[in-house]
Amino acid sequence: MIVLKKKLYRLVFLHFVLLSSLIFSIKVSAAPVEFAYNQLSRVSSSTTASHSLYFVLPNGIPIGGNISITYPGSSFTFGSLYDYTDMVLEEGNSSNCSTASFIPKTLAASASGTTWGATYSSLVITFTSDTDTITANRCVRVVLNSNGTNHTLTNPTVTTNTVYNINLLTSENDSAEVAVIILGDASASNVDQINIKLNVAPSILLGVDVVTTDCNNTTQTTPINQAIEFGNLFPGIAKLSGSQYPFICIEAGTNSETGIKILIQSSRNNAVGGLVGSGGGLIASATNDLNSGLVDSGYGVRISSLGTTSLGTFVANSPYNSGVAGNVGILNGLLGSPTAIVTSTGVVRSNSNARIALEVGIKSSITTQQDTYTDTINITAFTNL
């Protein structure tokens, strides 16, 4: 009899254990959401803010399922016409909310086919599926925008920092509670923002280099090497910047809306500049076509290329804007005015690898006295006054 009772007790105990394990296995499908947070665009008291909620649903959402997001009472204020047009529901391609790519679901006032129903009522946002699903363990992003009149989402009015819990619950009983802090300070508004104010001062940049072939490169030269050696001249033969004699490459810019001009001037102590020999001979500067047989001698510069700019534009000024090599413009001397070879009327910036290229041309005649001829070309960046 005692043996029978013991067996009966064992049987009852085994049934109890079996039943308990069955109940447990049924409940295992409902789970706390493992990862959930809410990003607010503003966290200051009484300000409108958009909410971006991220969460990973262990069980996903099946056909006909739903997600509800409940805001606490006496907290956030939704506009009277807040609806699906203010909401976004997106499914990520992984459980990592930081790296997932999100694909939006189509939303409407009610669910139909793959379109989800999205509604707002009494602090509860509900997304309802008809035939669409969300795969388990995918990051889901819900964005609740604060849009125009009656479509706003406004933070609670608080005078001290206050925590609010927003509850998430799905049809699969996946749940989460997300806390957000609203900053309140009775003595100030917009306490979540720092106003930044600064002045950007106008500045000018000028870099000059002496480079053979062209200026569509980043080749730099030090000032000590910034000379163009033309070597020996032969009467009637023009020497021009090119593969043998370098160009003057000008990188210039300004962030001032007054713009900039690049001035050029010979250092010779006369009105009309030129190359002067130690014995007093002169190869005068003039606006001329040095390749013309009618021009005995001369010296000048030409804009071979304006290069390219990342901001604004430079304009090549006459007489330096000829498209023909050797057709150079005059360099005035120190008793004349410096001339603006290029001008910009506003903000402008040369590209470092495609600078303004200035061709220098020189030609002697049969009457030019044998000597060493030199000049110093002054290139000056000057704001427009």
Partner: protein, 304 residues
């Protein structure tokens, strides 16, 4: 090698924008801020002008600092550098550092100390600080051209006297307005004449005001006048031109109103004139209506 020229005192009204470290545009060569300085001083006043330099290069740069007097000529269209700085300008300068060596990427706060001597004649003075790269002066055999680069910071100083030519007087020499059909804007061109020996920077507002109840469009459209702060040099004229853009629904009679401020006392120059706005779409609509009426009339005549 630092040179100092003596004299001494300080400043007055500051017009240029404040220097802000970190805002220099960068690239190659040297960067300089600000791009110009314009100040009004009283006799005996002292000032320090701060200029920030930056060596953008990957190598050290030795920069020579020179002072050049300049004038704006041809009604402010061209520059002319004097061969030597004017004595009166040199007399302003207390402290003049004429040579700086900057390491690669080094910034440098250059200071120019000024004092306006009590004997200075009231007038506008202009000079430029020229920051020049110092290169080789070696002359090789044969013909050659050395290249010298410099960034100029023009400094305009007014020392005002009493009312009259030494105080600042600006007048409108001429003004023209016209409606541009294609750009739907009002173009204006103003010639301002500086009758004084001061450098004047006129600024202000050009407005279009609805002038008639039969007009349509906004009551007022404002546009900045001389936003760039261009100067009118002593005893010269300068042409200012700009456009005020309108929205498409504007038409009818408007009043062009120009209000210009200048000088120490914010003197005002004003001008008003009427301008008629007839946008191109209105002309097209009227044209279409005329054609329709014309066709209907012709059709009626044919039927008779």
């Amino acid at each position: 090698m630092v040179g100092f020229v003596s004299i001494g005192i300080i400043s007055a009204q500051e017009i240029e924008e404040p220097i802000s470290e970190g805002n220099l545009i960068t690239g190659n060569g040297i960067s300089v801020t600000p791009v110009k300085i314009q100040r009004n001083y009283s006799l005996g006043e002292s000032d320090t002008i701060d200029i920030t330099l930056l060596n953008n290069e990957e190598f050290p740069l030795t920069i020579g600092v020179n002072i050049k007097s300049f004038k704006l000529i041809n009604n402010n269209q061209n520059l002319f550098f004097e061969k030597y700085p004017e004595d009166s300008i040199l007399s302003f300068i207390n402290n003049f550092e004429n040579r700086i060596t900057l390491e690669p990427k080094q910034r440098y706060n250059y200071k120019l100390n000024l004092t306006i001597p009590n004997t200075t004649l009231p007038a506008g003075y202009s000079f430029a600080l020229m920051f020049e790269s110092i290169g080789s002066n070696t002359v090789e055999e044969g013909s050659n051209a050395l290249i010298k680069q410099s960034v100029a910071v023009p400094i305009l100083i007014n020392i005002a006297g009493v009312k009259g030519i030494t105080f600042g007087e600006l007048t409108i020499d001429s003004i023209e307005t016209s409606y541009n059909l294609l750009s739907n804007s009002v173009y204006y061109q103003v010639v301002l004449k500086n009758n004084s020996n001061q450098y004047l920077t006129p600024i202000g507002i050009a407005s279009l005001l609805k002038n008639s109840s039969a007009s349509f469009g906004p009551d007022k459209v404002d546009s900045n006048f001389n936003r760039k702060g261009l100067v009118v040099s002593p005893f010269s004229s300068r042409v200012f031109s700009s456009e005020i853009y309108l929205n498409q629904l504007t038409f009818g009679e408007y009043q062009f109103s120009l209000n210009i401020l200048y000088g120490l006392e914010n003197n005002v120059v004003t001008n008003n004139q009427s301008v008629f706005i007839i946008p191109i779409y209105l002309i097209i609509i009227i044209g279409v209506i005329v054609i329709i009426i014309f066709k209907k009339v012709r059709k009626g005549n044919n039927e008779k």
